[in-house]
Assembly symmetry: C3
Homo-oligomer: 362 residues x 3
């Protein structure tokens, strides 16, 4: 169950992540950032008793010079005895990620920016615009005409390589194939969180006009989500309507709809997918789900992302468990004589970075 050497050495493009926290974490904050729960529940016990919790103790402890499987208490004590910048640098460097595409639009005040993150990791970073966050920023500050002008301008900023929609959190993924007019969208404007389906639809079409690869949060997320409304196949009318534009659409995370996502990435020329957030959340079980995600998706259509947020451990675990799962997938294929070693190398490079470089034109 070691990692194949050529997989261990791959440089990664993380095509979807956030920043790391600027400060140390209490145990409560640390545990709640491991998972998608708002807080630890006395009814249910510590989140260290979970796949990701055990993965931290197993894989992260040694990077802080602790024995494998150090206790949660020992781990947090040691972590807090170090400067958070040192902790972050350690895990970021160990991830082997050389390029970060950063969605900086969620809780930016708590987190390092993309540039700071990249600098700490000795890596490159590019910006993913979070569409709903951008609209919320601009709606507070501008007239309708200025809103549209500024939004279009921001989508065309040279540092921006993609856009992201959190429609899943706001309205679910029922996005129509009909493009709303600017007038319709502006009528739906209001202050506060963008929750209007017309506005969200207009934003994603604006991103496509700008030629920006468009990411959708899909499936697994925090308790704001109604999971059955986040099935990616709900996007089918939108995908059908945009198939001819040549602008990539990227389905993020997808668990437990990763098979549906693979289907969409197979049948639509512009659709891609990943396992994102689920990879580190699955801990030692990541390999089985990863193999499921690859059942019917062409290998030129699957990408790596960590969806790490806040804790630097999550970049490291995201990358490590991606490598482990990819290695297990390829080793299994080689053992079954499903493809040649040179094919395995090519598949690995595609998923680690080449698909992302092609999609985002990096």
């Amino acid at each position: 169950m070691g990692i194949l050497p050529f997989v261990a050495e791959l440089g990664l493009i993380d095509h979807h992540c956030h920043g790391v926290l600027r400060t140390d974490s209490t145990r409560e904050e640390f545990e709640s950032l491991l998972l998608e729960a708002d807080a630890v529940s006395p009814l249910g016990g510590s989140f260290f008793d979970s796949a990701i919790g055990f993965a931290v103790r197993r894989w992260c402890a040694p990077l802080l010079d602790l024995p494998r499987h150090a206790s949660a208490e020992a781990y947090l004590e040691r972590r807090n005895s170090l400067h958070i910048t040192e902790v972050s640098r350690t895990f970021l460097m160990a991830s082997g990620i050389h390029t970060f595409l950063v969605d900086g639009g969620f809780q930016p005040e708590r987190l390092l920016s993309g540039g700071e993150l990249a600098s700490l990791a000795g890596a490159d970073s590019h910006e993913i615009v979070r569409l709903e966050h951008l609209a919320e920023e601009l709606s507070a500050a501008a007239s309708a005409a200025e809103f549209v002008h500024e939004l279009r301008s921001r989508l065309r900023s040279p540092s921006v390589v993609g856009a992201k929609s959190v429609a899943a959190y706001r309205t679910g993924l029922v996005i129509s194939g009909e493009r709303p007019s600017e007038a319709e969208a502006l009528r739906s404007m209001s202050s506060g969180p963008v929750k209007d389906p017309v506005m969200i639809s207009w934003l994603v079409w604006e991103a496509m006009d700008a030629g920006l690869p468009l990411q959708f949060h899909v499936g697994y997320g925090d308790s704001d989500i109604d999971l059955h409304r986040c099935d990616p196949s709900l996007l089918t009318p939108f995908l059908r309507a945009t198939a001819g534009l040549g602008v990539p659409v990227l389905l993020l995370h997808n668990y437990p709809f990763h098979r549906q996502a693979g289907y969409l990435a197979q049948v639509f020329p512009h659709v891609f997918c990943d396992l994102g957030l689920a990879t580190h959340g699955l801990g030692h079980q990541a390999s089985r789900v990863f193999a499921e995600a690859l059942e019917i998706v062409p290998y030129g259509k699957f990408l790596f992302s960590s969806d790490a947020f806040g804790l630097p451990e999550l970049y490291y675990l995201g990358a490590l468990l991606f490598r482990q799962a990819l290695s297990d997938f390829l080793a299994d294929g080689l053992r079954r004589d499903a493809f040649l070693e040179e094919d395995a190398h090519r598949i690995a490079r595609l998923m680690a970075s080449e698909n992302a470089a092609r999609v985002y034109k990096l």
Copy 2:
């Protein structure tokens, strides 16, 4: 593929089961109770040709002093040559279940009561009130005011440790987050089966008022179910509305939505889940699905139940296949060095009984 010794020896709390039949079974009845079908179909052949059918021949035959894999005919002949009480005692004792939480509200006339069951097994039992059944009983006998009074009183009976809703069978799991008023609920009263969503919603809120851990049948069941209406994520608005009450909600069975259930148990502080009915139905394939069910659920949130009904074999197979699957999960984790042996022991104890004892305050 043996069972780890510390798993084999665990005492179990079965947090959801029914009673055993009072009488012998014909082959027809036996086969139909193995699965969720109403009857064996001449089009499709014997239900002994199924995962559970083979599990009976493999695991139950030796307890009746037959060789492993005895034929269906030999098995039933031997079984019927013994007194049903003896057969029931044999399988119940062999299950290693020391506490049964019994839903006695389905076909009670055919079955031993919880007390009789426990007595036969040398175990303890507690009552789970089946809400729709209780309402049906009381609606026949009482005025509206008496109905409410008696219902509240029964929910507070000292022998009752939890409530169960079969909304899945009656309306599907679209239960709103808005609590209906007593007047609205009473307006929806009628004789016969409770199928009104307002009444069902009112009943589950009443159970929560009584502080009773609330079980929902989810997913896999008999042909009365429309499976797509039994996705547990349909409960999200209700779960969001009740997250702050501190009353546990338990999602039963869940197959094939066990990943959705694990998600809900992760993000909501009061939500728990099991694999229930599916465990024995899966036979020798139970371990893979069990591992799936544990992908993202915190280990303090997963329980054992057999959902056995009628046939004593189902308690035994439910417990045995749970042990096998738990053992396989832990052995796999240990082989991958995912956690320490002492962690494996703790996880096992949590799922076998400690989570249930905490949730139901046993």
Copy 3:
């Protein structure tokens, strides 16, 4: 990972397939027929980099006297150097399929007929009437009364052994349990593709009147499908309404809803399922999904089909990967001591041909 000898030698009934192309294929056509995409996308790379693409190079190349894992270029060059009839005969003969049930109603002008296919393979063939195609043919040519008369006559043609509906592609699988009247159906008639739910519902009831086993496309298909509308559990009201008629209903493909299909085949006496199209699409990962499909379905309810269309390789890979997956399933069961060798032989025969022979009265 070899195939158990008694599985390798099984004769197969392919209960759902199409014809093979009459002509050679360009690389573009070949790649697009491997998967369900309309065309290869420059954004996503070659479809040879997929599970099915690697399966062609691994398993099909040797039958054309090339080394295993020959490159895509070498494979297509060699293939085009041979006569297409020779290529088709080679793969059809190697499949071990002795009886084909052929849906000839999709792009018949490009394909060999069922009779030609069977002749090439030294096998038998029978006709599956594609209901929507039949209605489209007849609606162009007839008055309403003639339409009904001719349709009923064609459904009773001696060569026809079953009917198939592509409701999944036209309306999704929400088919009501209420039978529409002939008058209602005829009011919904129009020229062009049959997309009216009343007409589709009437057609499937007509097929049942004729006593024809009724196939439904379910789940995974091309981009015309909205996948969430192809969940087979949406058919529940229709299945409940038809459970007493004694006419088999067959759920095809089902991926990623194969567990839902297994549930329906368990609880309804007349429902059967397969993994169809998904088997070859999954390539070296077919065995895991096949095992999932068999979790709760009685073994008398699961059939083999290739759903091959156009490329003769797909019959061969469909049959080969079915054998591999069935062998892996049985070998795993034998290793776990889940059933006896004689049981394994019986299960294999049921799924390979006996279930199909019983259902279609062959």
